[in-house]
């Protein structure tokens, strides 16, 4: 692994290796709960909590975890924090908890979280693991809120339940249905592919001019 500075650890998860948009990890929650911005925010907050706490705990305990059972140990740590998040949400925001349903419990099998423990927290110190977890959590939040925004604006004509358009706006109901989740992420990826291609073409042009 290359040596990186702490700020790179932080930025990497947000941008270069965004868990949802680049690495395609944690797709199930990204598609399932982004039918409104509010749900997306609640889900991201819960995931952020779980990934930060697990990263800190795993990097603190990395010397005591035997190599053979490390994956099971990570899953146990994650499951503990998910249970905590589940109970806190149930206690403080019961309506939101009902809305998200089983998907809070399913944070356990979000491969993004396990991936960060295995790839980063198990090898680095507590501070850098926390930075890495925070970066990844924020990257996840950005992706989810972006998808939730697209879907809520087009599908309901509102943002955070605040109506944006006049009464003549005909909502695209399909965007808040399951099919809309696949289509939104698909088109976001197509857009990213387009910019990537333009960037490459621009670089090739520059190289030609200087040559």
């Amino acid at each position: 692994m290359k040596k990186t500075t702490p700020s790179q650890d932080f930025i990497r998860g947000i941008w270069n290796e965004n868990p949802v948009l680049i690495q395609m990890l944690g797709l199930c929650p990204a598609l399932a709960v982004t039918n409104s911005v509010k749900n997306a925010l609640a889900m991201s907050a819960a995931t952020f909590f779980v990934i930060c706490c697990s990263s800190v705990l795993v990097s603190t305990c990395k010397r005591f975890i035997p190599n053979e059972v490390r994956i099971s140990a990570y899953i146990l740590v994650i499951a503990t924090f998910v249970t905590l998040a589940d109970m806190m949400l149930q206690a403080y925001a019961p309506a939101q908890h009902k809305e998200l349903g089983a998907f809070i419990a399913l944070i356990v099998v979000n491969c993004m979280i396990l991936g960060r423990q295995e790839a980063f927290s198990a090898k680095n110190n507590v501070f850098r693991s926390l930075l890495d977890a925070m970066g990844t959590g924020i990257g996840f939040t950005i992706a989810l809120v972006m998808m939730g925004g697209f879907r809520e604006i087009l599908g309901v004509g509102a943002f955070l339940e605040y109506p944006l358009f006049g009464p003549n706006f005909e909502p695209w109901v399909v965007m808040v249905l399951p099919a809309g989740g696949f289509l939104t992420l698909g088109f976001i990826l197509l857009g990213m592919g387009y910019f990537e291609q333009r960037k490459k073409a621009g670089q090739a042009d520059k190289a030609e001019q200087t040559a």
Partner: protein, 191 residues
């Protein structure tokens, strides 16, 4: 206790609320191993097997253990699923080495498939009994297999078609999945 009929549970899990296309569970294998019909089918069958075992053990846990310790639900489910997959892997390796080679990496990967944990949690939330849980698991597994095989056949067909450069890869797969999901929405009013 839930009083849905077995047929409606089965049909709902398999088609109307298809795990992959309507509830976004099990997307990782859906994106990862849907390039060839053969592997997609085998992955689907392995999933059905583990889903049924999970439904049985989730029912067992719910009836005998979690009654008194409800806060251990998530932790105990994930431990049971992880050890179950490990045991299945060992048994298959010992008794049917040929099948084991065919399944390869997919068998251990099932542990982190959210469809499995999702099934256990939905089953608990809806209060399914023993037989209902079993039927739910088989229906969900067949639904997953159906989605995987459909996706794999479409991907095999478009492999040689001329798509724009930006659409090669996951973007196109997601848009196809969206179209499939639209098609499955046609069943929505049936139950």
């Amino acid at each position: 206790m839930n009083d849905q009929t077995l047929f409606s549970i089965f049909f709902s899990a398999m088609i109307v609320n298809n795990f992959t296309l309507a509830m976004f569970l099990g997307l990782c294998p859906f994106m990862g191993v849907s390039a060839k019909v053969g592997t997609a089918l085998r992955m689907g069958l392995a999933n059905i097997f583990v889903l049924v075992l999970t439904a049985l053990s989730a029912w067992f846990l719910n009836t005998f253990v979690l009654e008194s310790f409800p806060y251990l639900r998530i932790i105990s489910f994930i431990i049971v699923i992880a050890s179950l997959v490990q045991i299945v892997e060992m048994v298959v390796k010992k008794t049917a080495p040929a099948l084991f080679r065919q399944l390869g990496i997919y068998l251990p990967l099932i542990t982190t498939n959210c469809a499995i944990l999702g099934l256990a949690i939905f089953q608990t939330n809806r209060g399914y009994g023993f037989l209902q849980g079993l039927v739910f698991a088989v229906g969900a597994g067949l639904g997953l297999t159906l989605a995987l095989v459909l996706m794999a056949s479409i991907r095999e067909t478009i492999e040689f078609s001329d798509v724009p450069g930006i659409a090669k890869g996951t973007g196109l797969v997601l848009i196809i999945a969206g179209t499939l999901s639209l098609a499955f929405m046609g069943f929505a009013g049936m139950l």
